[in-house]
Amino acid sequence: MSMTTDASTNSAAEAGKPGSGPPGSPGRRRSGSAAGTARLASALVSPTLLVLAVVVMYPILAALYQSLFVSGQRLDAQGFVVEGREFVGLGTYADILFGPAAERFWNAFWNTTFFTVVTVTLEAVLGMAMALVMHQAFRGRGLVRASVLVPWAIPTAVSALLWRWIFAPDGVANAVLGHQVLWSSQALASKIAVITAEVWKTAPFVGLLVLAGLQVISREVHEAATVDGAGAWRRFWHITLPLVKPALVVAVLFRMLDALRMFDLPFILIGQQKDSVETLSMLAFSEATNVHYGPAAAYATLLFAYVALIAFVFVKLLGADVIGEVRSQVPRRGGIRSRRGKGSAR
């Protein structure tokens, strides 16, 4: 990702600059204690890297390895998994992409993609609108700030239950619409239900991130444009939008990566093994709980590859600068906005 591309040049450049170095007067200390600093740094950084190697790198590689085998497809009389596995190479992938499992895989793939595109688009638009409103608001700021955090703080599992209740056959959604919709069984309706619940939970959060981007735009830019006769709409398109774009792009990237792994919401709101809402995460989970570890690992690996591809495209083509804030010398305002997007909606 972007972060890695210029990592070497950057750290080299940084090392030469005053202020980025270790505390203490940089020039003098460097020669004496550069080795000491490096030792200290590696001592401080290695625990985190070690943990992440165990809980992230190992599983990613193990999934890739396990997806080359088929095992655990048979149970013995006691219901235990029969030991031993069979090497099938890329056979599982062939089954998934073109063979007997293809239909279910592509269905889950398109569901995942559809949910991601629709929810992230809606979240970006709604979040932008909310940010503009919050930016203008002088009254009720405390209230709006508090309420925006509520959907974010509610566990996804609880919000899924809550929306299942709202979308129940006798629920309030049907009462408000005055129309009997079977949200949990009709294909399109259940997709809409999932999208509604997801957007409700995360759009306010995108709003917060965009707001942080809005607040660094100086007022003079807008005033100058107004003096030059630009209307509100033109000011939005030609000033506000380009200037919040970096914040928005990073927020959208993290939202997309989060939407691609969507699991809790459709799982609880609609249910397992429903074609209309089954995502790739749900498909892999369903195979894993049936101890079909080979296919499960293959689905997990494919999802991982998909996520990595999207992240790569975003960082390369749209220039999403994910660690920009930390890389930069002077801490800027709004720096954490990029982090937030990711942390949110697990």
Binding site: A146, W165, L208, D264, I336, R337
Partner: protein, 288 residues
Amino acid sequence: MTTATETARRTTRRRFDARKWLPVLGVAGIVLYCLAPFYWMVVTAFRRPADQYDLSPLPRTWSVENFRAVFEPGTGFGRALLNSLIVASTTTVLTLVIGTSTAYALARLAFRGKNLVLSLIIATSMFPGISLIVPLLRLFTDIGWINTYQAMILPSLSFALPLAVWNLTMFFRQMPQELEQAAMVDGCTPGQAFRKIIVPLAAPGMFTTAILTFILAWNEFIIALSMVNEREMQTVTVAISKFTGATQYDQPFGTQMAAGVIVTIPLVIGVLIFQRRIIAGLTSGGLK
């Protein structure tokens, strides 16, 4: 002439009013959007089970029957709350212990490959949970860790640790460099400067990070669902998802909503108390 000016003045006044009221309407819209579903959960929870399908904006008769039902002996809900508390607190403490020193190094020390390390840490948090869970499920099955706390805590570090490192790195960056410089002029090594000067002063940032980590760990679902199949060890998000009635059309929605309120209210209260701190953490002081 006079009428013309008058009309003009009136128009400006009306436009002025619209300008004044539009943001207020917008704010009301956002508040309604964010709170209406939550409000519906609370209201449903306080209805009598018999009134479950009422659509009145307030319960006709207030009742805590649903809350009592949540804690009935058969549900195991109290135990699930305890499990969630154990998993989320342990994850938070471990994350802070491991992440603080790393964040300090990333924020304050110059070393080769710093941006690479930071990129790796951030990148790991983007990986889909299921990609980690499938192999870990198998590993934990082999070593007998299914239905244990560590089987939930260890994978939770995969998302908690990057978040904490990022958050704390930002925080350390904002502390004045002079702090360590002064300490080292007085003869401290960089390590001592970190332990004796920085860590105590970083308490607010660590506190914010702790809140965020705790909320994320508390809300975690898929790891807890995969790693545990005994009711005794379920966390509360899993327990709540399994609160179902006999048939699809006979669901104890009232009880579910009461359980949801119990799980959510501590978070909401915490968020309201610490909202400035949390938003400052989220947006680096952007919202004044």
